[in-house]
């Protein structure tokens, strides 16, 4: 249905809201990548089918929820984007009762229909079990993972149906665009973004308003807006979830940006590894176009703007803005020197504004609720909230969004519920391959752009990987260097060759062949790579080595001097042994791929260390804690 004017849109919104208000319950099945992998689409189909069969009044489209009904109104069932709590998925959330069912299987559906939907009873065993006190918690309000969060960018993720413009409109979607087009001049929009203090969420933290203003000031008739959805930092998936869970907001944010910049053409560059995000964005763009919210003469205001999607090619460096623009234009993704500003000469050499996904989705709420509302959150220099992907050795892994300035400790121990299996916290890695590892004594650091950089790491796009005492910091440093060797575009010699040399030294240390002067050599190389590389990839590539050398130097020394890996990771330096916990279950005998373990049932097994390849299969399968690593 094409909405030819603002009036028509508001009329539509009114009728959708009426339909929504008549809904008795809303049943939301998570259809983010994680839950889909767990079979959530089948669960959704079964829920709809079985509840209809049992005589419940169920609708799957918001529009259909209106009209004359019985006393109670229908149940509205829909899929949603990522709820952020992938670890306990597939998730089913029922509102307004706030019941969150975790680890749901298709086999649980009959019970959910019978007990919960028909009789209103809560099924205890499907509720979330808090690892800190082993208690079952009913809904988001009771679960610390959720109730300590403050969601702006992720507000509608896991709440609305990402494939329904109707649902988006009922949730206040396109209010901000209407406000921009009818009540604000383009300059007012830029003013608002500037006043909100919004800084780029992709890693750099550059003030968005200032970027927009300098693009507008640049000479040229054609301007482009780009959404960077090439979320390459390993361990980060905020943008993926937003694109999958709230694609209309990405489109709306870009449309507002285009209006402010007088641009008529936009691009979304999505990672190759995110097929579902591409699919959802394509659908949202097609629906928005059909509704007159993209394309020629948007809402009859004379403003025209359209968006094209480009899929990435699996190159990490394309997350760098100038490389990304090269890629959109059909070239190899090689960055160029920073003195050429893309706000002046960007895509196809025209003035361009590039922001990442999370930045774009902050724009509609800023316009809608005002710059002051946004600026009231966070710290003096880092305004608003920030989404993080909290992963690794932590009890509650998933997406969290918190006000800037909250401490690492609150994120990891309160929201994250502490370290997995009660082990000891060792480090948290932030900022992706450009960031660093921070130790326990930095846990009270406020999380904002400047504090993290000062501490030797960086905010980056928001990956937060927690490590425990079984993670080796030399191995982690080597992991990132290997990653960057693969991903270096090869243009600058210090990055291309320097990283290879750093890797060779790290590998030597890991193999137990480290030399006394290796640490000094690493530091020397790090200086050279940082000083002489062109783009941020090379300049910051040495951070993982630098930060681990700064905070975990003793671990390097243990490898070099004592030929010992304290965390028990580096294969050349460890031995597996079977201890007295062994109850002779023979699981490890079967698991060992090289036949190094022998033993009979109910007798302590024996491990032949000469045959052992240290693959870890026995340790992974043993449930008696009978494998020791020395």
């Amino acid at each position: 249905m094409r909405l030819g004017s603002v009036k028509e849109l508001e009329k539509r919104r009114k009728s959708l809201r009426k339909a929504r208000d008549g809904v008795r319950r809303r049943i939301i099945v998570c259809a983010g990548t994680g839950c889909v992998a767990g079979g959530s689409l089948d669960i959704y189909a079964a829920l709809v089918e079985q509840s209809r069969e049992s005589g419940l009044d169920v609708e799957v489209e918001l529009e259909a929820c209106g009209g004359k009904r019985g006393k109670t109104g229908p149940d509205y069932m829909s899929a949603s984007g990522c709820h952020g709590f992938c670890q306990v998925g597939p998730l089913v959330h029922i509102t307004p009762d706030d019941i969150l069912y975790c680890h749901v299987k298709t086999a649980d559906v009959p019970k959910i229909v019978d007990e919960t939907l028909k009789k209103g009873k809560v099924i205890e065993k499907l509720l979330y079990k808090d690892p800190t006190d082993d208690e079952r918690k009913q809904g988001r309000e009771d679960i610390t993972f959720y109730n300590r969060q403050q969601r702006v960018a992720l507000e509608s993720c896991g709440v609305i149906d990402p494939e329904s413009l109707d649902d988006y409109l009922a949730h206040g979607g396109y209010q901000a665009l209407v406000k921009s087009l009818t009540e604000m001049q383009p300059d007012d929009v830029i003013d608002a973004v500037e006043k909100s203090g919004l800084r780029g969420r992709g890693g750099g933290g550059f003030p968005a308003g200032r970027k927009w203003r300098s693009c507008l000031a640049a000479p040229g008739d054609v301007r482009y807006v780009i959404c960077n959805g090439d979320e390459g930092d390993p361990g980060a998936f905020m943008d993926r979830s937003i694109m999958e869970g709230d694609p209309f907001k990405v489109v709306e944010g870009m449309t507002i940006g285009a209006y402010a910049l007088r641009s008529s053409s936009g691009y979304i560059y999505v990672r190759h590894e995110y097929p579902l995000a591409v699919q959802r964005l394509e659908k949202a763009i097609a629906i928005a176009r059909g509704a007159g919210l993209l394309g020629e003469d948007i809402l009859g205001t004379g403003f025209s703007f359209d968006i094209k999607i480009n899929r990435g090619g699996g190159a990490f460096v394309c997350g760098e803005s100038s490389a990304l623009m090269r890629s959109v234009a059909g070239y190899m993704g090689e960055p160029r020197p920073k003195y050429i500003h893309s706000t002046e000469k960007g895509l196809f050499d025209q003035p361009t504004v590039l922001n990442n996904v999370e930045t774009w989705v902050c724009v509609p709420p800023i316009i809608d609720r005002g710059a002051a509302w946004f600026a009231a959150m966070g710290t003096e220099k880092s305004k608003g909230t920030k989404a993080f992907s909290l992963v690794g050795k932590v009890n509650n892994t998933g997406l969290v969004e918190v006000p800037m300035g909250i401490s690492l400790r609150e994120i990891i121990f309160d929201i994250g519920g502490g370290i997995l299996d009660g082990r000891e916290f060792k480090a948290v890695q932030t900022g992706g391959p450009s960031g660093g590892c921070l130790p326990a004594d930095r846990l009270d650091l406020p999380v904002d752009f400047d504090s993290l950089t000062e501490a030797g790491s960086m905010m980056g796009s928001g990956g937060m990987i927690v490590m425990d005492d079984r993670n080796c910091m030399v191995d982690v440093a080597d992991y990132f260097i290997k990653f960057l060797i693969q991903e270096s575009c090869g243009k600058c010699v210090p990055c291309r060759e320097g990283l290879v040399q750093m890797h060779a030294i790290l590998e030597r240390i890991i193999q137990g062949e480290g030399r006394p002067d290796d640490i000094g050599k690493l530091e020397h190389l790090a200086d050279a790579v940082e000083a002489a590389s062109l783009c941020a990839l090379g300049k910051t590539a040495v951070n993982p080595v630098r930060s681990t050398l700064k905070f975990f130097r003793d671990e390097y020394e243990a490898h070099i001097k004592d030929k010992r890996c304290p965390a028990g990771v580096c294969k050349a330096l460890i031995t597996y042994r079977i201890n007295d916990n062994c109850n002779g279950c023979t699981l490890c005998v079967k698991a060992c791929p090289v036949g190094a373990i022998t033993g009979k049932k109910k007798q302590k097994h024996v491990l032949d260390t000469d045959k052992c390849t240290r693959c870890g299969a026995c340790e992974a399968i043993c449930n008696q804690n009978a494998i020791s690593v020395e």
């Binding site: 994680g34 190899m332 993704g333 992907s389 050795k393 998933g398 693969q486």
Partner: protein, 153 residues
Amino acid sequence: MSSVHVNRIIDRHGAERASLIPVLQDIQDDYNWISEPHLRQVADRLGLPLSEVYGVASFYRALSLEPRGKTLIRVCKGTACHVRGAQLIQEELERQLGIQAGGTTEDMAYTLEVVNCVGACGMAPVVIVGDKYFPGVKPHRAKKLVQTERDEE
């Protein structure tokens, strides 16, 4: 001889420079790799030197200039997967399939690839077989993954 299908792909995107990557991606999707004749055809139609097209095709990891196995097995080695033991899973899969990461089995059934983060960090470590995601994989389950996949064939 030029491929009708490749011509159709080019027509769909338009024979211009900015279409180069989408065209190569579509060929990759449809054929599972990009052959030399296809590279030549793209260069010819887009009016670009073959070296340019080859440069771009070899730059992006999602594009393969060698035939790949029928089923792609991807081991995620993002940071979250790495700290939860992805290396051991990669090694187990290599052993099971008898190939190194990046390689293809002789019968062209499988290609094993290591990828840098698929954004499913909440389920680490993750292995993706075809388009199916397997969460929380343990080394001994990696063995089963391959076996089940083989049985289903």
